[in-house]
């Protein structure tokens, strides 16, 4: 029950969109393909679904340990047993929510009673009990995505493909739905590939990550692993690290964290914390600017030999007596940086 993509290349009118991408998605896991817009991740997903013909490479399905690899590269979409959920859901506007969800069941001529039961079950799973008779146009964006998810699950796919499932929603809703999505996928036990440009969404939903850039998969592995060890500076920045310090600039910061020298270090915004008491920090620098956010005070420091770095002050409110141009001391949290 493993999806195995080998050296897949897809191009549009001669321009390569995906170049020799290889992916491995083990049974029951959720892989997030993460990359900036235009990196080819949606094309990769559509090729897996069978909606884009590949120039080269194979898409295979492994039913179990030791089983023969089923080659799906030339199989038409509707015979792959994969369900693709679109960014905007693509609910059929003329059908009610219930009929939308039951659509894959009707395609397979599921008996009416079983169909009704399964539809209700799925609407229950996505938290939309009693919505069966509504029309898609009367739903909010989040509700529509839930219906689309239920419809995809109704196809009982061996692989679920999600194309930016939450990016059409506003921030608060996205956060809540991401958690729901994770729970629903766990409960359904469906193997899933998710495409997104939002690293937080990927982190919240997926247990494996593949990072894509310019049509190439630059790194893949367990989510936490990729997070701890970004492949390169660009990957680190895309994963939400605030700054990457290279070569000599990295050394003082690494030393302050109690680590040996490395070629580069990626820092989260909160990797440097303003020392509570003067003289206790491992690094010191001049305050270039600071601003308050609801949670913390964010500063930019100029550290000799390092350059400008971000730092935070733990408590809210401006640090007493600290002004632009003053010297400040910070400690380095080794859990909030990554050696590249």
């Amino acid at each position: 029950m493993t999806l195995r993509v080998r050296d897949l290349s897809v191009s549009y009118d001669g321009a390569p969109a995906v170049r020799a991408a290889s992916l491995e998605v083990p049974a029951g896991s959720t892989l997030a393909v993460l990359g900036p817009s235009g990196c080819g991740k949606s094309t990769l997903l559509r090729a897996v679904a069978g909606l884009e013909p590949p120039d080269a490479g194979t898409i295979g399905w492994l039913a179990g340990e030791g089983a023969e690899v089923e080659d799906l590269t030339r199989v038409p979409t509707h015979r792959r047993g994969f369900a693709l959920m679109f960014q905007d859901g693509q609910l059929f506007p003329q059908m009610t929510v219930g009929r939308n969800v039951a659509y894959p069941l009707r395609l397979r001529r599921t008996p009416v009673a079983a169909r009704r039961h399964r539809t209700a079950e799925l609407l229950d799973l996505v938290g939309l009990q009693g919505y069966a008779d509504r029309l898609p146009t009367t739903l909010s964006g989040g509700e529509r995505q839930r219906v689309a998810l239920a419809r995809s699950l109704a196809a009982d796919p061996r692989l679920l493909l999600l194309d930016e499932p939450l990016s059409a929603l506003d921030a608060g809703l996205r956060e809540r739905l991401a958690a729901d999505l994770r729970d629903i996928l766990r409960a359904a036990g469906t193997t899933t590939v998710l495409v997104t440009h939002d690293h937080e969404e990927a982190y919240a939903v997926a247990d494996r990550l593949a990072v894509m850039r310019d049509g190439v998969v630059v790194q893949q592995g367990a989510t936490a692993e990729v997070w701890r060890h970004p492949h390169d500076a660009a990957t680190a920045l895309f994963l939400g690290y605030a700054r990457v310090l290279e070569r000599d600039a990295a050394t003082p910061v690494l030393a302050a964290a109690g680590l040996g020298p490395a070629s580069a270090v990626a820092l989260r915004r909160s990797a440097l914390v303003l020392a509570e008491h003067p003289g206790t920090g491992g690094l010191s620098g001049r305050v270039v600017s600071w601003r308050a956010t609801p949670d913390q005070v964010r500063l930019v420091l100029d550290v000799p030999g390092v350059g400008e770095v971000d730092a935070v002050a733990g408590s809210s409110g401006p640090p007493v007596g600290l002004a632009v141009g003053d010297e400040a001391q910070v400690t380095v949290d080794p859990d909030r940086l990554a050696v590249v």
Binding site: L51, H78, G81, F86, F92, Y103, R151, S152, A155
Partner: protein, 556 residues
């Protein structure tokens, strides 16, 4: 409050000013003549005589004529839709060399003068013609074939434009849920196309039911539709009362049909921009529609080819004699005896008339479209606008014969002594073309997002500047396209013109019909040659329009 009131007043004043000219023209040159004609029939001696109307409607012949009209129109519609759908798919969803040419070729029949089409079918099917073996000459089947020939382009165009704009993602979503190609077709594509098909079918039905030239030339006196019957009653039998009664019935039926199709008409959401799906190369699964499209193309080409060949044959040999005769003065041996002027003069008349009719219908159409698409602020205002919209569609449904005869009745005597005004024919033709112009421009103007105009205004643009920046860029192509349509319609208009054109100032369709009505090989040959010239002129205009890629023949 005061300023709000004055704004409303100003809006209404602008609307009224825009609508004034089209309303005046419609009232004087359409409503008045039609009313005069109907009045003449209903009150033959100055007293209302509804009994006489009933008597006409109870005649067995009337029943036969109505039944004939209904079933030929229905058959014509069904066949046009069945043949048009595969062609719409092939020409708007697939990509192949020569696609633009095939599209243009299929559009040509729609604008061919009806008389020409009648002649071409007659030539194809009559004794000694290439398809004489079918035994269809002068039969209802030939009439239906003529109607289909005309209207298949309407289906291809309007359904094709919708098909082209269909988002392919719902189909992909269905496929990704396990739907096979047929299941996708029935559950996704058909529901999405249904409104376009229904509205194309209703307008085709309207065109079929009011067709004049085709039915008259192919069916003669043996098979009459309501439209040709009105003509026969008016022009040959001088039974005005019966003609008026039939006109009234036709008017009511057409209004009902227009109301239905207006309800079915879907207006595009202006906030959603139209995306044209990228056409793909034909695959093996496309074989059936491709073959059907080729057959349609062949069926469209056959009558035209027969016409061209026929015009070049004189006494069983190739000859240009028929064409040479077009320029000859009547009476000098070489020319026909049936005419008062050479056919070349008629061609000049046709072109001059068409130019006048074109600017008139485009001007009126633009005003009507502007009035109809202005954003309404209240329900009453919206109702007034849709009423105006419907009002200017009326010429589509009123028998051109009724209109033409109404002109004679009401405008030929004081106080409106316009009978000899050279602008009378262009005005009548402009009114016939007006619905086509309006329906081409309205969807375009309606699709302009009001917020774009507001954005321009908020940046300091005057309404005129906003018009220049926002409306003009999207409007000019459809405007030129509409002008082309109007020009073609005017060139081919026969119903009204046959009444109004003075004998010494005929247009080409009138000349062709007169030539056909006179015996003699030369007259027939000249009719064919004149048909070819007329067809070539209209086709040339249409091909030029096609190059502009106007999306559709209007949204009906």
């Amino acid at each position: 409050m005061t300023s709000a009131t004055s704004t409303t007043t100003r809006r209404l004043a602008t609307t009224a000013a825009l609508a004034a000219l089209p309303l005046a023209v419609l009232g004087l040159f359409f409503l008045l003549p039609v009313a005069g004609m109907v009045d003449r029939g209903l009150r033959p001696d100055g007293v209302l005589d509804p009994g006489a109307v009933l008597e006409v409607l109870m005649r067995p012949r009337t029943g036969r004529v109505v039944w004939f009209t209904l079933w030929t129109a229905t058959m014509g519609t069904v066949v046009a839709v069945v043949l048009g759908l595969p062609a719409a798919y092939v020409l708007h969803r697939l990509r192949f060399p020569g696609r633009g040419l095939v599209r243009a070729a299929l559009l040509v029949p729609f604008v061919l003068p009806t008389v020409v089409v009648g002649v071409a079918f007659d030539l194809l099917l009559r004794d000694g013609g290439p398809l004489a073996g079918l035994g269809l000459a002068g039969t209802p089947a030939a009439i239906v074939a003529g109607l289909v020939f005309f209207n298949v382009a309407v289906v291809v165009r309007s359904v094709g434009a919708t098909w082209e704009g269909l988002d392919r993602r719902p189909a992909e979503a269905a496929a990704a849920l396990g739907a096979g190609p047929w299941q996708v077709w029935w559950t996704v594509t058909v529901p999405a196309l249904r409104p376009a098909v229904v509205s194309a079918a209703s307008v085709v039905f309207l065109f079929c039911a009011t067709a004049f030239g085709v039915v008259l030339v192919i069916g003669g006196v043996r098979y009459a539709s309501v439209e040709t019957e009105i003509y026969l009653l008016t022009a040959n039998l001088l039974d005005l009362q019966a003609a008026a009664a039939l006109s009234l019935v036709q008017l009511l039926a057409v209004v009902a049909l227009l109301l239905v199709s207006a309800r079915l008409r879907t207006t595009a959401d202006p906030t959603r921009s139209r995306v044209v799906a990228a056409p793909r190369r034909p695959a093996r699964g496309d074989l059936v529609p491709v073959v059907l499209t080729a057959l349609v193309l062949l069926a469209v080409a056959a009558p035209i080819a027969a016409l061209v060949v026929g015009s070049l044959r004189v006494d069983e040999a190739w000859s240009l004699a028929s064409y040479r005769a077009l320029g000859a003065e009547p009476g000098d041996g070489a020319g026909g005896q049936a005419l008062l002027v050479p056919v070349t003069d008629a061609l000049l008349n046709s072109l001059r008339t068409a130019v006048d009719a074109t600017w008139m219908s485009v001007l009126l159409g633009l005003l009507v479209a502007a009035v109809v698409t202005r954003r309404s602020r209240s329900r009453a205002e919206r109702r007034v606008r849709s009423l105006l919209d419907g009002l200017f569609m009326l010429p589509l449904g009123v028998s051109a014969v009724t209109l033409g005869f109404g002109f004679l009745v009401t405008l030929g005597r004081p106080p409106l002594e316009l009978r000899d005004n050279p602008l009378l024919v262009p005005v009548a033709q402009a009114l016939v073309a007006l619905p086509l112009v309006v329906r081409t421009l309205v969807p375009v103007l309606a699709s302009v997002d009001e917020r774009l105009r507001q954005a321009a205004a908020s940046l300091g643009a005057t309404p005129a500047r906003a018009l220049l920046a926002v409306d003009l860029p999207v409007l000019w192509k459809p405007l030129v396209g509409a002008a082309g349509f109007a020009f073609a319609v005017s060139l081919g208009e026969f119903g009204a013109t046959s009444f109004l054109a003075r004998p010494d100032h005929p247009t080409v369709p009138v000349v062709i019909f007169r030539l056909l009505g006179n015996p003699g090989e030369l007259n027939y040959g000249m009719a064919l040659a004149a048909s070819v010239v007329l067809a070539a002129t209209t086709a040339g205009v249409m091909l030029a329009v096609e190059r502009l890629r106007v999306p559709s023949l209007g949204a009906w």
